[in-house]
């Protein structure tokens, strides 16, 4: 299984993961990547930034397990997941999932699946800072509905 997981406070580029995934390979026919960014509106209209907390160890293991589930469900050639922690400003990338496969459908579906499970399973918590103060973000029912599509 070619599954890479990274937790980092440093920013990553929108091309992150391509080079390491595609190096020396000519059997990959499709690469699908998803990048999540910090919005300046969420639970409050004026989000000035957020602080992401994680549970070191468990977070990495959970992301690897989600990658492994996708690996067993679809025929994949590479999975790359990077998630940032610490302070992030609006516009900053938070998460990036890159899936490589021989054909596009599998790459699209596996990327969607990984994001749905990352949102509902991986131990990360967001604290939003806004002009009105700071608060911890609440879980969303829609994230759980999204994850249940794969049951």
């Amino acid at each position: 299984m070619n599954i890479q997981v990274r937790i980092q406070s440093a920013p990553f580029s929108l091309g992150d993961g391509y080079a390491s995934t595609l190096a020396q390979r000519t059997d990959i026919g499709a690469v699908v990547s998803f990048t999540g960014l910090v919005r300046d509106f969420n639970e409050s209209p004026d989000v000035t930034g957020l602080t992401l907390e994680h549970y070191p160890g468990m977070t990495e293991r959970t992301l690897e397990q989600i990658g492994e589930q996708a690996w067993q469900r679809w025929s994949l050639q590479a999975v790359y997941i990077v998630h940032r922690v610490g302070y992030l400003a609006p516009g900053d990338p938070i998460v990036r999932v890159l899936v490589a496969s021989a054909h596009r459908r599998e790459a699209f579906e596996a990327c969607d699946f990984i994001m749905d499970f990352l949102k509902t399973q991986a131990p990360f918590w967001k604290k939003e800072h806004s002009t009105q103060g700071e608060y911890w973000v609440k879980e969303r029912a829609t994230d759980w509905q999204d994850a249940e599509r794969w049951a």
């Binding site: 997981v5 937790i7 406070s9 999540g36 300046d40 004026d46 000035t48 930034g49 602080t51 992401l52 907390e53 994680h54 549970y55 070191p56 160890g57 468990m58 990495e60 293991r61 998630h83 922690v85 610490g86 302070y87 400003a89 938070i94 998460v95 994001m115 990352l118 949102k119 509902t120 399973q121 991986a122 131990p123 990360f124 918590w125 967001k126 604290k127 800072h129 002009t131 911890w136 973000v137 609440k138 879980e139």
Partner: protein, 266 residues
């Protein structure tokens, strides 16, 4: 993100704002001049040789805001409706804080005017005080906020110093810490739960736990302090040695148990 002051060949370009709608624009910039305590005292007592330093620096800042287009090559000349400069003498930090506000109804932003006003007010403070203090330093000239315009409002935010991260573990490891003398479990509280119970880590003697499972651990903690009764909330999650667990899961000596709220990553 495109730099509007460059054209497609990368050459300097004054942006045509003729088609933009007029909106109310406002910008606040700040900066400071660090100086010796004695200089600061002379300044606040009005005893510097060149006279009223603050009044002169204020006029200099206002004049500079009006003439920004002459100094900064691609700035438009603007009919400012308001310029105000404030000075705050701060003996604790050994500096004078300078704040400039610029406002107009127009087609382009006024942050360059506010930054220029602060810069020139700081330079004037320097000029007025340099006879008695050569060590002064102009510092932290920056935009504080701007309102109006298509790119929306901006507000500088105070960045928290360090990211909130609990535990010392690295990938694939379970943090164990020092060994207990008698059988015990280490308990962690994460994210919002940590803030609500007011503690991040605690150690519990297994002999105090009524039953050696998560339900027993919750009962023992609640007995210790009523704040821990919120652990029985349905939406409080739990992991033993970093693997999700429920109330009936067994706990053994040296286990790491973490309680946390529903996850909100991604």
């Amino acid at each position: 993100m495109q730099l509007t002051h460059l054209n497609t060949r990368g050459e300097a370009n004054m942006v045509d704002v003729g088609d933009k709608h007029e909106t109310r624009r406002e910008a606040v910039a700040s900066g400071r001049v660090l100086m010796q305590p004695e200089t600061l005292k002379l300044l606040s007592d009005g005893e510097l040789p060149k006279g009223d330093v603050i009044a002169t620096a204020r006029i200099a800042g206002i004049q500079a805001a009006k003439r920004t287009h002459e100094l900064i090559p691609l700035c438009h000349s603007l009919a400012l409706s308001k310029v105000s400069i404030e000075f705050d003498i701060d003996p604790a930090q050994g500096c004078v804080h300078v704040t400039a506000l610029c406002r107009l109804n127009g087609r382009t932003g006024v942050e360059m005017e506010a930054l220029t006003a602060v810069s020139v007010a700081c330079l004037t403070l320097y000029d007025m005080c340099k006879a008695v203090d050569k060590d002064m330093c102009i510092d932290a000239v920056q935009l504080e906020s701007k309102r109006g315009g298509v790119r929306g409002d901006y507000q500088r935010s105070a960045r928290p110093q360090a990211p909130i991260v609990t535990g010392e573990g690295t990938a694939g490891e379970v943090t164990l810490g020092e060994r207990c003398a008698s059988p015990c479990v280490r308990v962690k509280f994460l994210a919002e739960l940590r803030e609500r119970v007011g503690v991040s880590d605690t150690v519990l003697d297994l002999d105090q736990v009524p039953s050696r499972d998560i339900a027993g651990l919750k009962a023992a903690l609640s007995q210790r302090d009523t704040r821990f009764s919120m652990l029985t909330d349905q939406r409080t999650l739990c992991a033993i040695n970093q693997v999700m667990a429920n109330d009936s899961a067994r706990i053994t000596d040296e286990d790491e148990v973490a309680f946390f709220p529903p996850v909100t990553g991604g």
